[in-house]
Symmetry: C2
Subunit: 245 residues, 2 copies
DNA sequence: CAGTGGTCTAGACCACATC
DNA sequence: ATGTGGTCTAGACCACTGG
């Protein structure tokens, strides 16, 4: 009898190719937004059939690593193009259904050291340097979300307020183009809390106002955690939208 | 130049077959938990190739309408089997990572009439009869979630407290086996609110305690809305878990 | 028009579950 | 041994995009 944790004895070809393509993406053989070689070329490169390549690409496309465009080619997914994927990592919507993408204001950028909880979550040694960012999102010109973001300095070396403010586009677009860090997946845990004095002041609500907190851990290639953030959100005019399938 | 809302001029075979299979499922040609015919048989029945049937089934499987089991067959998905899908429609988890499935207590079952908001959401005429259920979920033997559920009487005729209490299993399992109503998909909107006196009493928290509210609309075949519910949730020992991909 | 991704086929073979 | 879903192939053809 084999041990319960034995190696899966069998690995389909298309999954092996998926892994190889994923490595190519991780090492930026093709950059964000660029076309990858055509299916026929990849098929001959890996010595497999059209169909097998298609299964590999379909899987990567389901993971949002690639985007297929009929008649044009297959492209590396990017956070810098404002398509329908704009709201992929932003689940906060206005109650009135208006699809507004909020303005972002950076309040603070400081350096600190990873303490127990942060170190554990981000896979750092306690005391390793981290950046702490604090920013506000305005919906309908009103402060609505307060984000406290923690990033390992090792991956975001050279991050400054000036560079942050100079960039036009989403924060994950900024991370992608300026630091080569691609956010691929996130887990979120939501809770309700009462506003304390500091938060109430920033979000212009009374102390004690019920707020939605969203604790996010974001992962890059190889399921490596690279961002921790806590969002605190006023839900009078907005809500958090999700779908169960 | 064609009008922007023109018919999609082209519908792949596998999607047509997917639709036909979906209709078979909706009219219960095969019941929840049962096997459907093998891929080879379906292929010959519809006069298409193995591969085309597989694409159709793969799509239905991705929608959680079917479950494939290698070597055994393809089965109609059901809410009555306690597998990994137990938490598909329950995103509340304990903070301590224990995978507890909460106990449910029905507090109230009454009949009422659909008013503006409910009628609009459920696609009913104002004044049509609805059931109102109120129940509590206990995590770790403590009241944690208060659900207020609204159902159209037309679809749940004969629902009584006795039948509800007699059933062993999840609420959606109950709806499926007792009324033939299958919940396939849901949209949820989350907000933070302060506990009022009534809720505070039931959930055993102080008035004003911040609570997470989850407004859910649940859909069955053909994207027909069949359930509306508001969950109010204590998030001291629990949280709402979700993933962004 | 050429080149891309998307569909469909027919058939071979593999992995897995059950008898 | 049989039957199920899962993989892989080779090739034909379709739909879409861009020059």
């Amino acid at each position: 009898m084999k041990p319960a944790t034995s190696t899966p004895t069998f690995r389909p070809l298309y999954l092996q190719i998926k892994s190889m393509l994923e490595e190519s993406l991780a090492r930026r053989e093709w950059g964000p937004g660029e076309v990858i070689p055509s299916e026929l070329e990849l098929a001959s490169r890996y010595g497999v059939s059209h169909g097998t390549i298609r299964k590999a690409i379909a899987a990567l496309s389901a993971d949002n690593l690639l985007v297929r465009r009929q008649g044009r080619g297959t492209f590396v997914a990017t956070h810098t193009e404002e398509h329908s994927s704009t709201f992929r990592f932003l689940r906060i919507r206005r109650n009135d259904q208006v699809d507004e993408y909020p303005a972002s204001r950076l309040l603070e950028l400081r350096r600190g050291k990873a303490t127990g909880d942060v170190a554990r979550t981000l896979g750092l040694k306690p005391g390793e340097p981290v950046f702490g960012l604090r920013r506000v999102l305005d919906f309908d010109s009103r402060p609505t979300v307060l984000d406290d973001i923690t990033l390992p300095v090792a991956l975001f070396r050279g991050l400054t307020r000036a560079r942050f403010d100079a960039y036009r586009g989403s924060m994950y677009g900024f991370f992608e183009t300026e630091f080569g860090v691609r956010m691929l997946r996130a887990d979120e845990r939501l809770r309700a809390v009462a506003a304390d004095a500091g938060v109430a002041d920033i979000l212009e609500v009374p102390v004690g106002e019920p707020l939605l907190t969203v604790d996010r851990v974001t992962f890059t290639f190889g399921d490596k955690p690279v961002e921790m953030r806590r969002a605190v959100c006023v839900t009078r005019r907005c809500h958090y939208l999700t779908s169960l399938n």
